[in-house]
Symmetry: C2
Subunit: 342 residues, 2 copies
């Protein structure tokens, strides 16, 4: 079993720096594009065998050190009684947006072990099949609330922020609902065999420090406290605002995921010695050709200086048009470059 990722989460030395790519099981892979799976994603997910095949697909192209589940942040919405449509190029669209405090009460509490059993079944299949850890993931409360209030891809998060400010009590009920359910879901994934669980806060970078502190941090505490109590190794990922790093570290996570906006050594200094750090490669670099991508990877590794606890990754999901050959070249480079030094 390749345990580089698990060692990094514990900040232990490994034979090379572990590598995986956010969205690696997706549109960057020719075989995935052939499946035209994106629009039918939710149907595929309910077939653990088919989903597991996509989750492991990256290994045919590049030797990453973990397989992140083929899944979407929005699948728990089905558990809560909503209908969701995955619109390619847009994102998950729910059948009814939340726009009032009363709407919050229409969400149905659910048990992820029951309602999302298909995800745990996928994990069980995967653990028997691959010799790298399975990474699970869950949505952070702000990001899930944003999908439910603003819809996907809101440019300014107007509706979500306005709801949060105007209806703090309903906001706390809604964000609290997702904090508990994401914690449950993360624990269930871990118990099914996931090696670690990443908490994705893809939209919280639109918040300033004071708003994150007041409206988001308490709910992040809930998630990470519960995951920690259950022994789940965790990665806390956010993109879009490096000024939030101190509060992310306060929220929790053995590893803090950072985007490309701040040099990785600066980010590590901010989050502290007692954390690992993941990420930092600008996903656009992977569109700029092999040499430039490797140059960017080398710059990150040189800043890290072989410090245990680094997981190499992009700073946000892979973009459409990323060449799997470039991903292979970068993966191999990171392994070789850090093995020489290790």
């Amino acid at each position: 079993m390749n345990d580089r990722i698990l060692r990094a989460v514990r900040r232990e030395k490994a034979d090379a720096t572990p590598v995986w790519f956010m969205r690696q099981a997706g549109r960057a892979l020719p075989r995935y594009r052939e499946l035209r799976a994106e629009a039918g994603m939710f149907e595929i997910l309910r077939d653990p065998e088919a989903a597991a095949e996509i989750t492991t697909m990256p290994l045919e192209y590049f030797p990453v050190d973990a397989c992140v589940l083929y899944n979407d942040l929005s699948t728990p919405f089905f558990g809560a009684g909503l209908q969701v449509e995955m619109r390619p190029g847009v994102g998950p669209v729910v059948d009814r947006l939340i726009r009032s405090p009363a709407d919050v009460d229409t969400l149905r509490p659910y048990d992820p072990r029951v309602e999302m059993k298909y995800i745990m079944d996928q994990i069980t299949l995967l653990t028997k099949r691959i010799d790298v850890p399975v990474l699970g993931f869950v949505g952070a409360p702000f990001t899930l609330c944003s999908y439910l209030i603003s819809g996907p891809g809101s440019r300014n998060q107007e509706e979500t922020k306005t709801f949060m400010w105007r209806e703090p009590e309903a906001w706390n009920r809604l964000a609290g609902f997702w904090a508990e359910h994401s914690a449950d879901f993360g624990i269930a994934q871990y118990e099914a065999g996931a090696g670690a669980v990443q908490v994705f806060d893809s939209w919280a970078g639109y918040l300033g420090v004071e708003d994150y502190d007041r409206y988001v941090l308490p709910h992040m505490h809930t998630i990470f406290n519960r995951l920690r109590a259950a022994g789940v190794p965790t990665i806390n990922f956010l993109t879009g605002n490096p000024a939030l790093l101190p509060l992310m570290a306060e929220a929790g996570g053995e590893v803090i995921g950072v985007d490309w906006r701040i040099p990785i050594d600066q980010a590590w200094k901010i989050v502290g010695d007692n954390r690992g750090v993941q990420g930092n490669l600008d996903p656009v670099l992977l569109l700029a050709g092999r040499d430039r991508a490797i140059e960017g990877a080398r710059a990150i590794l040189d800043r890290v200086e072989g410090r245990p606890g680094h997981i190499f990754n992009v700073g946000h999901g892979l973009l459409p048009g990323t060449d799997p050959d470039v991903l292979k070249a970068v993966t191999d480079f990171v392994h070789e470059y850090t093995a020489v030094r290790g």
Copy 2:
């Protein structure tokens, strides 16, 4: 003459903290919306009388301490021989994007005093007509290059970044072209009567620190060195990445414009005592009702503690749907709250 803004630029005490709003002469004003001016913007701009009327329109709704020119970052593209169409909700679209080094050479050097005389004529008209300073503005090189390479509103700036990385020599010619022409244009606006000139870098927040340092900072130095040599008071504005603040301060600008992602006192500490600071109100707050907007304004003023050199503003342009009555309430609040303490 109301000189609060000019005092703030010099970090001198004034009778109250000055206020203006980015995009104040635009879609937030009912009279502007009646004109349906946006699609015909470039035509209106060539009629200095009509443009001046829009520039001063905010004064009918709220007593701001400056009128920012009705203009768009993209008008200089006409000077360089391009055609531009303003698509409402999208932004300025040029007739031919720059995608190769050879495309850079198709840009025609021009004299803004000649090609954009209509803007200087608007300023001349305004200075005779209003008793607040006229604020001019120009585009920063990265942002202008982004309009020319990626087009408006690119989500990840793929094309712009890829061009910058792959063709550094052509990038430097292109960014250098705009640095010189934006400096010329800013100086011309100042000489026509603008009280200060803001350099807008609306898209550079998609860059990390190392890329800004290598590909953008030299060109920002060009602009600010030339503006400083000509005696032009300047505001250096960027949104989207607080980790760039130290390099922005290094680039120049008497005042540094910050978005809402970092508390204003933290930002001020980073940019240093020898700068003023502008901005910081989340424009979404102005959509959340009068009380919440004023609460947000108060939080900023309490962090500033009456320190000279603060210009109250939003952290990015006003959003569609902003109520001018809320803008009036905030403007009055800032003036009254700071006058009491001043």
